[in-house]
Amino acid sequence: MPAPDKRVTIDEIVGEIRDGMTIGIGGWGSRRKPMALVRALLRSPVKDLTVVSYGGPDVGLLCRAGKVRHTVCAFVSLDSIALEPHFRNARQSGQVTNTEMDEGMMLLGLQAAAWRVPFLPSRVGLGSDVTGLDPELRTVTSPYDDGEELLAVPAIELDVALIHMNRGDVGGSGQYLGPDPYFDDLFCGAAKRRFMSVERIVETEKLLELGPPQSLLVSRLMVDGVVETPHGAHFTSCAPDYERDEEFQAEYAATARSDEAWDGFRAKYLDVDEAAYQEAVR
């Protein structure tokens, strides 16, 4: 029996995203981000999103395009450029609020959602203003003899998860071939609807020729739709297929300096479809 065919288009994916939804985006910083999906979201009329991300240019672009009301981020960075300039502007103008989050706390929140438990206990966050700034956070006392008081890190439930993998099959099995899985499987686990873009869709039989079993990070049980988007993580890195496009990233970062610069960038790269974008950056 063949696996189900879950191939969809970029526009079908974006069509599922509604105003006010909470969306989680995989990758880390400026690494293996589902940028083709983010770009499609920029072209859509969607607004008032809450974005959960180990943030990079995905968050900066969505903020700059006015799609975001709130972020849940421990950082938003372009890696080689420490601070994401569009995110900075969005925060400093008060356009976007952020839930101040520890990196590991976010992992626990996503894991809790993926495991369908309301929280996971941790020391992470205690004593810091992660707890001071968020009156919703509660502690929990160990029911065992130690009686330790821990932070009850709440589940981070997502409406939609967007991730990008190196390879995948039509059924939605996903394979990463770089050094780090990041938390893409947890983003899928935490979401009601899960969409994966891949550099290349291959026959299922080919997957183990490309990498060891442990490279098969994403199970099709966690994916509702898959789309092939070659070079689709550009300008973030997608090792080993390609490294970050540092020159393009610098050009992008410079657009935070003026509306004119942004408008020019937007007209050239963002108000066009994915094929035209790929043509423009080739």
């Binding site: 995110f87 590991g104 941790s122 205690l126 004593g127 001071g132 009686g147 050094p179």
Partner: protein, 256 residues
Amino acid sequence: MTDAATVEATRADVCAAALADCFRADGEILANPIGNLPLIGGRLAKATFGPQLIMTDGEAQLVENVMPVGIEGAERVVSNWNPYRRMFDLLWSGRRHVIMGASQIDRFGNQNFAFIGDPAKPKAQLLGMRGAPGNTINHRTSYWIPNHSPRVFVERVDVVSGVGNDRAATLGPAGRFHELVHVVTNLAVLDFETPDRSMRLRSVHPGVTVDDVIAATGFDLVVPGAVPESRVPNAEELGLLRTIDPTDLRNAEVPV
């Protein structure tokens, strides 16, 4: 030998040795200094007194050899896979000592590099919380501050990302793994070896006076009667520093 080394060592070399010494009491752990000079210091520690220390390659692997800093494609002897999710396993296990930066730090070592100003509309959005809350509550933490000034050493930080000693003391058993070790700056080494665990001047770098440090600190520092000079790296260490930092990143970061 010592005299020659004294003449030769730059302020950045002294900083590198002080950063290395942060790991002096550590056993077999991940030494995880962040930033160029801390990395150089950490690798000096591994090359001298700390061969049991393990370090990252800056991406997702742990390495056994002393890699040069700032050299792309440098040879690495990989002994472990350490993607971010396993980094959290490691740091929550406590087998790690991090050296982080700080935009602000107070007398108890509460650190901020998240943002300045109103949380809803910050005057300056900085790094965010990153891993500072989880790091400080789980394992040893030191800080590197290349610009010792009253803007950084403040009476009160705008927001606490890294947990200080006063706050950790209120947490009961959950605070038991919290341990701030040293704060190394371009002027001095500071520690928390005081009865109330507030910050103390441990040593001043050669060429810096105690008054210089007091003037550059925006809160009342504990200053012992006699403050020693920071250790100057010996000739062997200076030779190693040239190997670890072949492009002289350290003297670019602290140009004195």
